[in-house]
């Protein structure tokens, strides 16, 4: 018998066609999720600020036809700073990046009519971006893999963002139950600031 007859025929290989995926789906890390959400939020608010600045009523429009470049520049700086902080797992650049995004919003968004409705939520939005960014930096530490810790922090972050957003709506809707304004509101703000400083001093004293 010829040797070739004894060989088993190999199964012909499929050269084309869809391949079935085998095994579990790739694990999406919590850090990747928070990082993506933070950057997505930053890009969204940057885009919104830039688009709103093209409206003639926007504060940036007073600088001329190219005024929309100002919020765009601030947004780009903010996104770049945020990306740097997230990539290096360093919380340092996050604060300035959020500040840059906020400045971009203030010079672009409030005046633009089609985007005016976003203004009361911008503070909460920025806070959410900052919280997600800091959370992502915290997740760069090895070992924190528990699901419940992520869920707890997500709930706490959502509560803080929601609470902050509600408060930030107040100046926008012009709600003034005490019927005061002008100097009284300024005084109220100063008293609030003094209370904040007092609380911070108390915490510093407690921490030794």
């Amino acid at each position: 018998m010829a040797p070739s007859m004894t060989r088993l025929r190999s199964r012909p290989r499929l050269r084309s066609g869809p391949r079935l995926r085998s095994g579990p789906r790739p694990h999406r890390s919590p850090r990747g999720v928070t990082m993506t959400l933070a950057l997505g939020g930053a890009v969204a608010i940057g885009l919104a600020s830039t688009l709103a600045a093209t409206n003639h009523a926007a504060p940036a429009a007073t600088l001329g036809p190219s005024g929309w470049l100002v919020p765009a520049l601030f947004a780009c700086l903010g996104i770049a700073g945020l990306a740097t902080g997230l990539a290096l797992a360093n919380p340092g650049p996050v604060g300035p990046a959020v500040a840059s995004l906020g400045v971009g919003f203030l010079v672009g968004l409030p005046g633009g009519d089609p985007w005016r409705w976003l203004a009361p939520f911008a503070g909460g939005w920025l806070l959410a971006v900052a919280e997600l960014a800091y959370w992502s930096v915290d997740l760069s530490v090895e070992g924190v893999e528990a699901v419940d810790i992520h869920a707890r922090r997500a709930r706490a972050t959502a509560a803080v963002v929601f609470g902050g957003a509600i408060v930030s709506v107040v100046p926008e809707i012009g709600w003034n139950p005490a019927g005061v304004g002008g100097v009284e509101l300024t005084l109220a703000g100063l008293v609030g600031g003094a209370v904040l400083i007092g609380l911070a001093a108390a915490m510093a004293w407690r921490s030794g």
Binding site: P91, G163, G164, P171, G208
Partner: protein
């Protein structure tokens, strides 16, 4: 635990304050709308911050190990309040490698529960390693405040050098009085045939060579070479250690010393150690299995102590160097004091073998002309030292770090045999 604000609090407070001030200054309510959530977040964080009481302990599964072996450290953490985010940072010394991505780990602590974190560390260098303090940094629910603490683990790891098993090494020219594995040049009781001589009163009858006695008509006896031990002193040059970050000549010299001590003690020789450097350290020659433990315990404490004082062999107590002992010197041939002391020992009649732990692999010149020229001069100086040794009849062999010690030992045996033949 001490409580302190995280950088996030400062950033949020600054953002919120500036925005609110801008709103007041410019009459721009949108700025307040942006800043208020940050201030609210800081207020919420301030309201709920409370430092927990955290108790941590560190334990290891063993405190004596060889180079390359692993030790498992278990950190047990207990707290009276829930800590959602606790970082354990362990700035380990370079002689310990921790498995995993980094030496910072994170855990979640439940109130009243005991949490354990395990770290597997690999000892990369011999020595006595005290585990550094473990830094604990906990965060509150939102990461606004951190609670810091440190735990001082009372753990001392003794990492012994990994000795190489040698089949043969250089032997002493003269033997001592005790029984051992070295064939003495003298005659006496032994198993190796040496000579035949006429019978003398008192000779043992079992030594009589009957064939020769029958032929000559007078009694003759066989003489044997007795098996004796030798005295070996390992001379460790502790004046200089040429390093390139993780490794250095002293690392290899200590490993070689441990290998030699193990080899000679296995032959029932008496072995002693001299650490010759800024601080003179020694161990008197002795034999037996306990001596190897004494030697490696003394070796792992070896370190270079910088001194500019002149030190010669006159500082070495006489009883450390027994007469007719073999001295095996492990030196990088850098410091003139060690180089001259070895010449002095040779001049005093000691059987000396110099194993040069080559420093060249650790001394790479910088990439500029002056450095290359300095390196060439340095190499010429080292060649001159080697030539000086050879011209004085001191056997010197070079040992490239990383290669087996068997090759230089074999070379030293050959050189020693030739020099003895020349002397005879």
């Amino acid at each position: 635990m001490t409580l302190s604000a995280s950088p996030k609090v400062g950033a949020y407070a600054a953002l919120g304050s500036v925005a609110v001030l801008a709103a007041i200054a410019f009459g721009y309510p949108e700025a307040a709308a942006v800043g208020m959530p940050f201030l609210i977040a800081v207020l919420i964080g301030l309201a709920f911050a409370r430092p927990p009481r955290v108790v941590a302990n560190v334990a290891v599964d063993r405190d004596r190990l060889l180079e390359g072996e692993t030790v498992r450290a278990t950190v047990t953490v207990e707290t009276d309040a829930s800590v959602p985010w606790l970082r354990l940072a362990w700035p380990l010394p370079v002689s310990l490698d921790v498995e995993g991505r980094s030496d910072v780990r994170g855990v979640t602590l439940a109130a009243g529960a005991v949490t354990t974190v395990e770290s597997v560390m690999t000892a990369t260098r011999w020595g006595v390693v005290r585990l550094p303090e473990l830094l604990l940094r906990g965060y509150d629910e939102l990461g606004f405040f951190r609670f810091e603490s440190a735990v001082e683990p009372d753990v001392l790891l003794r990492v012994y050098p990994r000795a190489e098993t040698l089949r043969r090494a250089v032997t002493a020219a003269e033997t001592q009085a005790f029984g051992g594995n070295e064939l003495s040049r003298g005659s006496g009781d032994g198993t190796e045939f040496a000579d035949i001589r006429p019978y003398l009163a008192g000779d043992r009858l079992r030594r009589i060579n009957w064939r020769l006695s029958t032929r000559t008509g007078s009694l003759h006896i066989n003489e044997m070479h007795p098996d004796r031990n030798t005295d070996v002193v390992i001379f460790l040059d502790l004046f200089t250690d040429v390093r390139d970050g993780r490794e250095g000549t002293l690392d290899y010299a200590v490993r070689a010393a441990a290998s030699l001590a193990e080899y000679y003690l296995g032959r029932r020789d008496r072995v002693g150690v001299i650490g010759f450097g800024g601080v003179l350290r020694w161990l008197l020659p002795a034999m037996g299995s306990r001596q190897i433990y004494r030697i490696v315990d003394s070796l792992i404490d070896s370190e270079v102590v910088v001194t500019h004082a002149w030190r010669g062999v006159e500082f070495i107590p006489a009883r450390i160097l027994p007469p007719k002992s073999l001295i095996v010197a492990l030196t990088p041939l850098i410091d003139g004091r060690a180089v001259d002391s070895l010449v002095d020992l040779r001049a005093r009649g000691f059987d000396l073998v110099v194993v040069e732990v080559m420093a060249e692999p650790f001394a790479v010149p910088a990439d500029h002309e002056a450095a290359r020229l300095a390196h060439r001069l340095w190499e010429l100086d080292r060649r001159a030292t080697r030539f000086r040794y050879r011209s004085l009849g001191i056997p010197i062999v070079q040992w490239q770090p990383g290669e087996s010690l068997a090759r230089p030992m074999e070379e030293a045996r050959e050189i020693g045999r030739q020099s003895r033949w020349l002397r005879a």
